[in-house]
């Protein structure tokens, strides 16, 4: 009997390690043509459709909707009806070590070759089986007591087998939290129960007095919401960067008067370059001058990057993405403009491919549209600097001894101080400034 061919979880992009099957578009038994969409996946960055490289019948779905598996794991099989499907267990995402867990949990012994407890006078102890990650290990009785008391048992430490929370743990937790002294109206208690709130947490906000429905409503309004997957990634990456990379910040003011004038003229001629386009071009040119800024470090070595892959931070409703203009080095301003428009549009539509969201060597974050005087940004992991571009505002400046009104834009470079010294940072930002103020340069390009 021929063997069915396996379908793999594709690896979209260098940094994607695992992906979640969001939806299967085909059922087991469906015919699948080459190029037809088989299923949708979600990486930590985007939702994507996966097309079939194979033709045949979808014989088996191994990874169900909602399951997360490492890339290149087998997710199903395609073949001819009757082909043998190898016995493969559904792959699982590598377990993330739980906070405070001491070593791997013990696996329950499986009694007998047929699993029917051939020798044991009593069944295998279910207590030895680790709870799936994210699932609170609690006995039904303890859970019932917690529910009856309208408390959240997740913070209680379990004394039962395998750390299971059992009734006595809840009882001693209640005692330690002074549950007996808790005063709450019946209506408030019922509402809290219906809303799955913890009356002890509500009590914490108003110690002493009786908890009322109003207190519960406040707690409902303030109930923490789970972060989106994207937000979690952002939080994790920014925290990592800001806590492991020593940042320095260098700010310059740039006179944008003439460039803005040129931009208006170009726009009238139907060439809609944005301020970003000019800044990106100026940055690319300056990076060629200061290759030390176009680099990264792991703390042990420094890696100068041969090309510029320009990240353009783009704000979306649900968070921030950084679409990447790859190989931006040799692009004309016109090419840059088109490419930036394209990746930003894809970012807004959620259609960026993983490779279009990773691998940038430098990032520009432009808040010029948002009326800010100045700001500093956190370096994207894997890069050594980020340029924060503020709004261009009319400001009185001194030119040739006279106070004149000019269009001034502040830019702040955040740089990894381990590999970018203050002087290099200053030289680099001034190189950008000088280019932006050199109207001849731009006239020659446009």
């Amino acid at each position: 009997m021929p063997e069915a061919q396996s379908i793999q979880m594709p690896k979209f992009g260098q940094t994607v390690e695992e992906s979640t099957v969001v939806a299967w578009r085909k059922k087991e038994g469906d015919q699948v043509a080459k190029g037809e969409v088989l299923f949708e996946i979600e990486t930590d960055k985007a939702t994507l459709e996966v097309e079939s490289f194979l033709e045949g019948t979808l014989l088996k779905i191994l990874v169900k909707e909602g399951q997360t598996v490492p890339v290149q794991s087998v997710v199903g099989f395609i073949g001819k009806p009757g082909d043998s499907v190898p016995e493969v267990k559904a792959p699982v995402a590598a377990p993330k070590p739980a906070v405070g867990s001491a070593g791997p949990p013990k696996q329950a012994s499986v009694p007998g070759p047929t699993g029917v407890g051939l020798s044991a006078p009593s069944a295998a102890v279910s207590a030895g089986v680790p709870a799936p990650p994210g699932r609170l290990k609690i006995s039904p009785r303890a859970a019932r007591l917690a529910k009856e008391k309208v408390i959240d048992p997740s913070g209680i430490s379990g004394s039962g087998p395998g750390g299971r929370i059992v009734e006595k743990d809840v009882i001693s937790y209640l005692a330690s939290r002074g549950y007996d002294r808790l005063r709450i109206t019946l209506a408030a208690r019922n509402l809290a129960a219906a809303q799955h709130l913890d009356v002890l947490a509500i009590a914490g906000s108003r110690s002493g007095s009786r908890i009322t429905v109003a207190d519960v409503r406040t707690a409902m309004a303030e109930r923490p919401k789970a972060m989106s997957k994207m937000r979690k990634v952002i939080a994790q990456r920014l925290t990592h960067s800001f806590t492991t990379t020593p940042h320095i910040f260098v700010t310059v003011s740039t006179d944008m008067t003439e460039l803005m004038g040129l931009r208006v003229k170009l726009k009238k001629k139907g060439v809609p370059y944005t301020v970003t386009d000019f800044i990106v071009k100026a940055v690319i040119m300056s990076l060629k001058e200061f290759p030390g800024v176009n680099s990264s470090t792991d703390g042990e070595s420094v890696r100068w990057r041969a090309n510029v892959h320009m990240g353009v931070a783009t704000s979306l409703e649900e968070g921030l993405v950084v679409p990447v203009v790859r190989l931006a080095d040799d692009m004309t301003i016109a090419e840059l403009h088109d490419r930036i428009v394209e990746v930003v549009r894809k970012a807004r539509e959620g259609k960026l491919l993983p490779d279009e969201m990773s691998g940038s060597t430098f990032t520009i974050s432009n808040m010029g549209m948002m009326n800010v005087e100045n700001f500093s940004a956190i370096i994207n992991p894997g890069e050594s600097a980020i340029l924060a571009v503020a709004s261009t505002t009319s400001a009185p400046v001194v030119r040739d001894g006279k106070i004149v009104v000019r269009s001034i834009m502040k830019m702040t470079l955040s740089a990894d101080h381990r590999i970018v010294d203050g002087a290099m940072a200053a030289g680099f930002v001034n190189a950008i400034k000088n280019r932006l103020e050199d109207i001849g340069l731009w006239k020659s390009m446009t």
Partner: protein, 766 residues
């Protein structure tokens, strides 16, 4: 050798004088008479002859209806969706009508999966004998003004209730619970068709045993096919029925052969195999009788295609039964025109020429010809009879098709009966004490478990003369475990007797005896032997109340003793109550203490459900307080043997003692364990268990049964279904290893669960 009734000491000396066994002669086809002779001699009237014809026509018409209705072609109810078996007996009508017309109305029958004919004939024959008042009871709504019209209504009702049963309707004889293969009408002495080949034969034997004991004068005609006469329980029954002790001096004043006719409906095919020259070694099954009885059971080979010959043979046999000369055996040769069922085209195993030759001797045509030849009726008279039968069947069929189905929510209604024999019927004969009741010695108010059982038996047998006790070695010897010692002397051999080593027939005959009005207690010695009787316990005893649509109750007790723990090895040590708890219809009781043993056995004997009463040989010697009062312990009420609050130990049987030991040790550790003795697995008192688990949150279920498939699993799963939110830990089960009981006491100690195992399980969840 002098013998004092009822006891008997064998004193058979060796005697090797040469001699020959003479099996005698078994006559075949002795009936040479005709309709003319029957009428001339006054054994039949002209009207009787027409009735015989009509009764055969009723069978053929109804079975032809089954054949055509199956294909949607029965005109009166075209396209009716008949679901059910199609074992028709067309061709065999003379056997049914001849036999039933040769019986008295009060005689009993049992029949087979191919039993429509027997069932119809027993009904029509009895109905024809009823007076107007009795007829009105069968058709209370009849508006008939004349006897003739009333009889017609009663016959139509009979056909209607038969068809309604085939169609699974609430108006069927068994309320649609039995169907054609289990149809029964106890009101006419029809104790049931049986879909287990041979399964009805021990039941008939037991019914005959009851008639003998009750001195009712009724015979039992046991219809079974030739195929059944290769079946173990049938051969057991032949031997059981022919026991010398029923007719020799052991019987004392009640010397009376079992009044049973083993009527072999020999259509020469067991489903499709040939009995004559293929799967048996005798050409005539009548020869079987010679193997079981010195008088060959008065066996004859009878022409089953001649209703008069069959009637004659059954009349003579039933007369013998009434004279105490039973059992009788009739090998009645007949022919099944259709196949085993409608899905059998008969092509593979017999010729069309063979079929044609038998049809030449068609019983209906044969009687018609004689009627016409004698001028009893004209051709048009007979056509009128045929038309009447056809129209009656059509009307009944139409009514049955339209009749109400049983309510789906009543699917398990009639599983058990609530009734008991708490009140004795006024006509129950009083008990006679032959010598004296056995002396049961109490020490400080204490009895052994063994004596508690004996005391229960003594009290119940003294109270109710319908309670009889039999089994292997229960009489003179007093039982393998001496639980019945002294009962023979107290109640006599007609109530306490040894049986052949025929577990299936012991249990099956108890079913028949129970159906016929007795309350048998049978003993199986080791519970392992219950598997020899598993059909009779599981398919017969357990099912008949339901399958009959609650027409009949089967009040019997099967006592089975568990030998585990004595080093008796794999076939004498099993704890099998879980198997019978899985068979709906049986009660399963397993006492753990002498007090419970007495109270539960007395309740079991008085209950009108069949009860599997399990005893433990480990407990027989255990003593405890047992009141000498007449007290009952209700079935299905668990007992809290020790109260506690931290953990619940649910158990039954000898494991109760281990659980109590474990509870004692836990108490020393400051853990308060509650021990619940279920006492009955069916009915199960789960509420007591749930209340306890709600209190403690932790539970260990313990029995001596091997782990896999043990009733402990049923208890555990019911707890988690109904008290999940109260559980503070997984429910643990403790049982014997999933193995076979070994002989070595070292191995058996490792095999069986003990208090330490219970403690370990408890500690793991505390």
């Amino acid at each position: 050798m002098a013998m004092k009734y009822p006891n008997y000491l064998s004193d058979t000396r060796p005697d090797v004088t040469p001699f020959e066994i003479d099996c005698g002669k078994i006559p075949a086809y002795v009936y040479r008479d005709s309709l003319k002779g029957e009428i001339d001699s006054g054994r039949l009237t002209a009207a009787d002859a027409i009735a015989l014809l009509e009764d055969m026509l009723i069978i053929r018409e109804l079975e032809q209806m089954i054949v055509t209705v199956r294909s949607g072609m029965y005109d009166p109810i075209k396209n009716f969706d008949y679901r059910g078996p199609t074992h028709v007996s067309i061709g065999q009508e003379a056997t049914s009508v001849g036999a039933c017309s040769g019986l008295a109305a009060t005689d009993k029958i049992t029949t087979t999966h191919r039993g429509h004919g027997d069932s119809l004939a027993k009904g029509t024959v009895v109905i024809r004998t009823l007076d107007d008042e009795e007829l009105r009871k069968r058709v209370p709504l009849s508006k008939a003004q004349t006897r003739e019209a009333l009889l017609e209504d009663a016959l139509e009702e009979h056909v209607y209730r038969t068809i309604a049963e085939l169609f699974g309707k609430e108006d069927g004889y068994c309320k649609g619970r039995g169907g054609g293969m289990h149809i029964a009408d106890f009101s006419v002495g029809h104790l049931g068709a049986n879909a287990i080949v041979g399964g009805g034969v021990p039941i008939a034997t037991g019914a005959a045993l009851a008639q003998r004991y009750l001195k009712s004068g009724a015979a039992t005609c046991c219809f079974a096919g030739d195929g059944a006469y290769a079946n173990g329980v049938v051969l057991e029954s032949l031997n059981f029925a022919a026991q010398h002790q029923f007719t020799n001096e052991l019987a004392g004043e009640l010397k009376f052969g079992l009044p049973i006719i083993f009527f072999i409906t020999n259509n020469h095919y067991g489903m499709t195999h040939r009995s004559n020259d293929e799967v048996m070694g005798v050409s005539n099954l009548a020869r079987r009788a010679a193997g079981f009885s010195d008088d060959n059971m008065h066996a004859e080979v009878v022409n089953g295609m001649d209703v008069l010959a069959v009637r004659d043979a059954v009349m003579r046999a039933s007369e013998k039964c009434r004279n105490g000369e039973g059992p009788c055996l009739l090998d009645v040769s007949t022919y099944r025109y259709y196949g085993h069922s409608l899905s059998d085209p008969r092509n593979e195993y017999r010729t069309r020429e063979e079929e044609a030759s038998w049809k030449e001797t068609d019983p209906i045509e044969r009687l018609k010809t004689q009627i016409l030849d004698l001028g009893i009726a004209s051709q048009s008279d007979l056509e009128a009879v045929e038309e009447r039968v056809r129209q009656r069947n059509a009307r009944a069929g139409v009514r049955a098709a339209k009749a109400a189905d049983p309510l789906a929510e009543d699917v398990i209604k009639y599983m058990y009966t609530d009734s008991t024999s708490e009140e004795l019927p006024s006509r129950t004969p009083s008990t006679q004490i032959i010598i004296a009741l056995p002396e049961i010695k109490r020490k400080d108010g204490k009895l052994t478990y063994r004596d508690a059982i004996k005391e229960a038996l003594v009290e119940e047998m003294a109270r109710d003369s319908r309670v009889i006790l039999y089994g292997e070695d229960v009489a003179d010897y007093g039982g393998a475990f001496k639980g019945t010692k002294g009962l023979l002397e107290a109640f006599g051999r007609d109530r306490v007797f040894n049986t052949p080593i025929s577990e299936a027939c012991i249990c099956g005959s108890a079913v028949g005896a129970a159906m016929a009005g007795l309350r048998p207690v049978v003993e199986l010695m080791y519970m392992d032997f219950s598997l020899m009787a598993s059909d009779q316990i599981s398919n017969q005893a357990a099912k008949w109340h339901y399958m009959s649509g609650a027409q009949i109750e089967v009040p019997l007790v099967v006592r089975a003793s568990v030998g585990g723990g004595k080093g008796y090895g794999g076939q004498h040590s099993q704890t099998l109550e879980s198997i019978f708890a899985h068979i709906p219809g049986m009660y399963v009781v397993y006492p753990a203490t002498p007090y419970d043993a007495k109270g539960l056995l007395k309740s079991a004997i008085r209950d009108n459900n069949p009860v599997m009463f399990v005893e433990s040989q480990l407990l027989y010697g255990v003593s405890d307080t047992v009141p000498s009062d007449d007290y009952l312990i209700p079935l299905g009420v668990a007992d809290i043997k020790r109260e506690g609050s931290d953990i619940t130990l649910v158990t039954w049987g000898p494991a109760v003692r281990d659980a109590l030991k474990a509870a004692e040790e836990l108490a020393a550790e400051g853990v308060s364990a509650e021990v619940i003795d279920l006492r009955c697995l069916v009915p199960l008192d789960i509420q007591t268990v749930l209340r306890s688990v709600q209190k403690t949150g932790k539970c260990v279920v313990v029995s001596q049964a091997i782990h896999i498939g043990s009733f402990t699993g049923e208890v555990a799963s019911t707890i988690q279904e109904q008290a999940f939110d109260y559980l503070d830990a997984p429910i643990r089960r403790v049982g014997a290893k999933n193995g076979i009981a070994p002989q070595s006491h070292i191995l058996e100690a490792a095999f069986l669960p003990n208090a330490a195992d219970i403690l370990q399980a408890a500690r793991e969840i505390l």
